[in-house]
Every structure is written in structure tokens, then in C-alpha cells.
Symmetry: C2
Subunit: 409 residues, 2 copies
């Protein structure tokens, strides 16, 4: 019997209990013994829940119980979840989580505590919800140098952008729609400002860099709050979709990681991910492109990945159930974003002359966009790979009347 505890009986925690109950026999058969939820820790009791008898508000019933060998942390955030995770790992209990904020902030330390106590800190569900991405990236692509990761990793913003594209809603209306459906929080900032995506690409980048820690708070990040219906019109005319992409690149000119809205051609597989779906394209130097698509969030989908990790931990007794240990490199792991080559759609009033643009962006390729809204001048800059973020920023300083600027994937 493998006894586990769930910390936090929210959506995902409840989903974990449900998946374990729903697929009990299958899980037992695969693991070779029953996997039982022995305790659920929460600050509330849930008297009407089918799991009510497992729920406790007393943490000693979890941390003091030597029978519990695996702890699922589904509290979220980096405060109490951090304290509890440290406590569990320090007492040799493996921790499985979907908590991208905690992993991306304290992952190095937590993996060190796990190692020192002969257990593991495992987090497949922290990126892409139920979609297998971390284990495939780490194991199946092990023979590759990962050259790029480009992902739609936040379902809230993908839902909003899909609504805007397909229903003509403006951002505010689409956000309200998302909130009414439970796809966005009352305070949606972590999603719409790109913070959630930032944490996820920091996790994936660290794995792609073989454990060299990437600090999410240092990543260039732009959210979707400035996307307008007119931007959507341009996207449609350009046969593209606007997607919030979280990107990691590792080539000769350096390693970069960032989050920003991009125009993605409708013929690109990433563009097939709409609504709350996620899609992560990985490019390996042997494999080429591979894409992982599915439900990036949601109770049972995320629980699917958490329970998959629990089973792995139970089966492998914490050996090789986790990824290459993270470490803080003494050298910078990422190159300054200013050096990153970029291409953009730039929308200006049509009073701006061609000469003004070419003076602001000297020796940078500049083509007219296939579409221009009335009263506007729209150009594609840097299509030939001849513009860096630094040059873009410097060039933009020449204009105080930029209508919109969107990066092109």
C-alpha cells in the first residue's frame, strides 16, 4: 500500500482524489500495490465531499505520519506551499506538484533538499497541465540539443485571444467572458500580464539547459492587455493568429527566453491550439520539430499529470523519477534580450513617411504589410533576420504615435 497525502483541496487537489478513485484498479495494477489517499490537508473542512473523512486541518497528521511517503502539493503559490514542501522533503517524503510559481521560484533549493533526503521533487503538471511535456523533453529528447521551445502555455489568455479573433470581442469583453466561464480569475493579472507563461517557460528553459536555473522574474515579458480588435483584423488579413507565445531559443548567438504576443501563421501547427488548449513546439537538433498539444489546465487534465507522477514515484521508489537536478550557474545562462533577433508588424498613422521609418530603422529590412487599415501605415520590419530587440527599441523611440507593435513568429 502506498499512502499519499494531498495538501490543498482546491480544484486540482480534488481532481487528484477523483482520478485516484476513478482509476483505482488500473493504478494498483500498474504500480503493483494500491495507491491510497490517506489524508487531505486543508484549512477548511468539506463535510459534503465524498472525501470528507480524509480531510484534516491538522498538518501533523500528514507530516508526522511515517506511513505517508508521497505528498501532493496543490495549494499553489510560494508561501505556505513552500513551507510545507520543505517540511515534507526534509522528512524524506517525495513531493509531487503542479505549482509552477513554487517550482520556478524555489526549484533549485527544493531539489537540493529532496536529494539530501533521498526523495524527489516532481512537477510534470506545472507546465502544460495534463500534456506530457517535461518528461518527454527530459527523457525522450535526451539525445537532442534543444534549439527552441515555443509554447502557448496559458489557457486563459489563449481563450481570450480566440474569443477576440472568432467573435470580434474586444479585450475587456473577452476577459469578462473568460471570467464568467471560470477560465480567468477575478484578478487575472498573472495570466493576462504573462506572468504565468513566464514561470512556465523558465521551467522549460531550465530543463532545456540541463538544469541551469533560469529565473522567471528576469525574463522579458509582455502580456496581452494591449491587443485590440484592430490588431485582430490585421492578423486575419495576414492569414495569421495572435498568440501569447512563451519562447526559449538556444543557438549560436546565445540562449534567450521571453514571453510576448506573436502573429503566428495559420498554417503553422501552433495556430491549431485555440480556446483553453495549450501547445508546445520543441525543436531538437536531431528530431526537428515536435509539438505537444492538449488541455493545459482543468481539474482532471492536471490531476492526470499529477497522478502520473505519483505512480512514477511509487514505482521507481524515487530513483530516476525526476529530472536532472537544477543548479544556479556562476555564469549568466541567458544572453541579454537586446541581442535577440526579432521581426515585427509595426502600425503607425499614415502621416508617417517611408523616409522617417527608414531613418529610424537604418539597414533593416522593411516591407509594407499586405494589409493596412484606413488611416494607417503598416510595415513588417526585420523579416530578413536583420533586426535585434535593441535596434527595435531604439527605432521606436523616434515615434510618439505608434498605434501597435506585434512580434512575428
Amino acid at each position: 500500500m502506498k499512502n499519499i497525502a494531498i495538501l490543498g483541496f482546491g480544484v486540482v487537489g480534488c481532481g487528484v482524489a477523483e482520478v485516484i478513485a476513478m482509476n483505482k484498479d488500473r493504478i494498483a495494477k500498474r504500480v503493483g500495490e494500491e495507491v491510497r489517499v490517506k489524508k487531505i490537508l486543508d484549512i477548511h473542512e468539506f463535510p459534503d465531499s465524498p472525501f470528507a473523512d480524509l480531510i484534516t486541518t491538522n498538518k501533523d497528521e500528514v507530516f508526522g505520519d511515517s506511513e505517508i511517503s508521497i505528498v501532493v502539493e496543490t495549494i499553489g503559490g510560494a508561501r505556505i506551499a513552500y513551507e510545507y514542501t520543505k517540511q515534507a522533503l526534509s522528512s524524506g517524503k517525495t513531493v509531487v506538484t503542479s505549482n509552477k510559481e513554487l517550482v520556478s521560484t524555489h526549484g533549485v533549493e527544493l531539489m537540493q533538499i529532496a536529494k539530501a533526503n533521498n526523495c524527489s521533487y516532481i512537477f510534470e503538471a506545472s507546465v502544460g497541465g495534463g500534456i506530457p511535456i517535461i518528461r518527454p523533453l527530459h527523457r525522450c529528447l535526451a539525445a537532442n540539443k534543444v534549439e527552441r521551445i515555443a509554447g502557448i502555455v496559458n489557457g486563459t489568455t489563449n481563450y481570450i485571444l480566440t474569443q477576440m479573433a472568432e467573435c470580434g470581442s474586444d479585450f475587456e469583453k473577452a476577459l469578462k467572458e473568460a471570467q464568467s466561464k471560470g477560465y480567468a480569475e477575478a484578478n487575472p493579472s498573472a495570466d493576462v500580464d504573462g506572468i504565468d507563461a513566464q514561470r512556465k517557460i523558465a521551467i522549460l528553459s531550465t530543463i532545456a539547459l540541463d538544469g541551469a536555473y533560469v529565473d522567471p522574474t528576469k525574463l522579458f515579458t509582455v502580456g496581452i492587455t494591449n491587443i485590440t480588435t484592430k490588431d485582430m483584423e490585421y492578423a486575419k488579413e495576414m492569414n495569421a493568429s495572435i498568440k501569447l507565445l512563451a519562447v526559449f531559443e538556444n543557438k549560436e548567438d546565445g540562449a534567450f527566453a521571453y514571453v510576448a504576443p506573436h502573429l503566428v501563421s495559420k498554417s503553422h501547427p501552433l495556430a491549431c491550439a485555440n480556446d483553453v488548449f495549450n501547445a508546445i513546439m520543441v525543436t531538437g537538433n536531431a528530431l526537428g520539430d515536435a509539438m505537444f498539444y492538449g488541455q493545459g489546465a482543468g481539474k482532471l487534465a492536471t490531476a492526470s499529470a499529477v497522478v502520473g507522477d505519483v505512480m512514477d514515484a511509487a514505482l521507481h521508489q524515487d530513483k530516476d523519477a525526476h529530472i536532472t537536478e537544477w543548479f544556479v550557474s556562476d555564469k549568466p545562462v541567458l544572453s541579454p534580450i537586446e541581442n535577440h533577433v526579432v521581426s515585427v508588424l509595426l502600425r503607425l498613422p499614415d502621416s508617417v513617411s517611408d523616409e522617417a521609418i527608414s531613418e529610424a530603422f537604418p539597414e533593416i529590412s522593411c516591407q509594407p504589410c499586405v494589409y493596412e487599415a484606413e488611416g494607417e501605415k503598416a510595415v513588417i520590419l526585420g523579416k530578413d533576420g536583420d533586426m535585434t530587440e535593441a535596434q527595435l527599441a531604439i527605432g521606436l523611440e523616434n515615434f510618439d504615435n505608434v498605434i501597435s507593435m506585434i512580434r512575428i513568429f
Copy 2:
């Protein structure tokens, strides 16, 4: 030092040697020791190859060398590859392969020999080339009951169908194009008749059924040789693509596995896989839909998966590097395909009356297709889930002038 041998210096075998050379340091760092190709066995010598000094025509130099612990089988087919695989496994050497014919035909026996000799038979690359699918299906989705797998798993036929759709070529012309580009063999039967896809879905089905062996030769299989430019016209008008789908389903009404061309809505993520790309959609009862997309074939892509397996075998010393052992069930694992619920586009001459159709398909939903070519009557049968393959077959017997019949996904 982990010493490996490669059997068969064809495209994939050569790719494996190249990937190991290209990413030597990364591989050594991850595995904890160098992984070296010690010998390459082939019936030819390749004096001009950079690997010439490793190549031997003498199999004793592989099978008699106790230093060689892992053997990569990239000969293909189920004759000499079968003999060599048995020999390697019997002497305790783990075998890693991309050989879908051998795995799907003799997988049960080979896994038993591996187990008896404390080594493994591993085959991530046998389905989907470089795309991670077997390991994610087996491990990351372990908490799920797999309800459906639907895959575009053959790059040759996908290339042909894409050419037909995008360039208006007929089947013969598109096939010649594929052959000229090296995407199809001189004898393309295994691909265009669906045999390759049949083997791959048999492998995936066996894994989804927790090792209960699915015999590929028993699966209902239709290839693409009867697809015409007119069918492509219908697909376009219906906003769909024609794809050769390999499908596994496991629901209340039974488990089914089959291969056939299907009309797939262009809004479905599977439709984003064109040319030689593969895409496999998996539906789990907790996860929902997840899709894996990428290069299903090709030298380096396939080698990427093979070398990933080699690294896994090296790291885990053959423990848990493989999947749940296959076995032959004493009960039928699949339900008869006749019971499978199906929906089709049926094209008939317009001389056929509505009454004739409803008499042939009594109590089966029948709607006119949104498009009808001149001189034709086109209907969608079974859209309401009220028709089985048996009823379809019986109904079709009433007509000797069916122009075309394509299943709808």
C-alpha cells in the same frame, strides 16, 4: 563506457551513429559515461563512410563481444532482424529498435526472451519516428484509461494526400512525386495499402490495453489507393482534409482498432499535420485529448528516438526502461469491427433515388452532403451514431454503382 552495436547501416542506422557523434558530450554528461558505437554490422562495407572502421560483416564480432551491452536493430523486416534480435536478447544484450514490423509481429516473444535474460526490448522509435509517443502513453498517461488513439502515422501516405489536396494531383502522380523525393519506396504497398499504419496502431493498441497483444494482421485496414481528385474536391467543399487514420477505441461498446481514410474537419488539430508529418491524438478518461505531432520518419528524427532509448537503457540499467510486458490474452481483446459505429460520406450517381438509399439503410440517419458534384448524389450516413460497420456493409450491397465511400472522423 557503454559500448553499443548497430545492426544495419541503412538510413536509420547511419542516423544513429551520426546523432551519437553529433551530441557525444551531451549524451555522456546525461548518462554519466561515454556511449560509444563499438561495432556496426552490415552485409556491405562502406569504405567511404566516416564510420568505416566500425563496420563489420562478421556477426560474431557483435554477439560474441561481452563488452557490448546494448544493440540497436535498424535492419528492418521480420526475418534476419528477428533472428539477430533473439540472439542479442538471449545473450542478455538489450535491444533498441525502430522496427515496427518486428515489434508488432513478434513483440510478445521478444519481450519474454528479454525478461528471461534480464535485459529489455525497447521501441519508442517504432511508432511516430522521432515523436515521443510510446513513453508518454505508457508513463505520463499511466493514470488514465485510454479511450481513443487516432493517428496519422504514415508519412508517405500523408505526403501523397497533401499533394493531392494542395496541388490537385491524382493518386498516381502524387505517388510518383513522393517516390522521386524518397518519401515512398519503389514498391510502396506497405505504405499506401495501410500495412505500415496497421502495424503501428497494433503496437499502440497493445500498450493502451496494458500489454494485451493486438495482432496487426487481424485489423480492418483500408489504404489510400482508391482516393481520387473528386474525393479531394468534396473534402475541400466540406472544409475537411482526407487523412489515413489509424484508430484505437476502447469504450463501453468494446475495443476496436482499424486503419482507413477519413474526412477530418480542418478545425480539428489532426488536420494540421501535412506532408510527411505525423500526429497522434490520444484521449484519456482524465486527461481528455492530447496530441503528439512531429516528424514520423527521416534519418535524424528517428535516430533521435532510438538514441533516447539507448540513453534510457544505459542510465537505468534496463530497469523500467521498457513498458509493461506484452502477453497473449486467452480472451479476444478486440470486438469485431462489424460492431463499430461509423459515419460515412457516400457518393452515388444521381440516378439513385432517396428511397433506394433509405431502404438500403433503414433507420439510419441520412443527410445530404453540403456539396454534390455534377451527376452525383452525396449523403452523410450515420451522423447520429446509429450505424455500424455491419449495417454499412449490408446497405452497400444494394448498390453496384457506388462512386466512393469515405469514413468521417
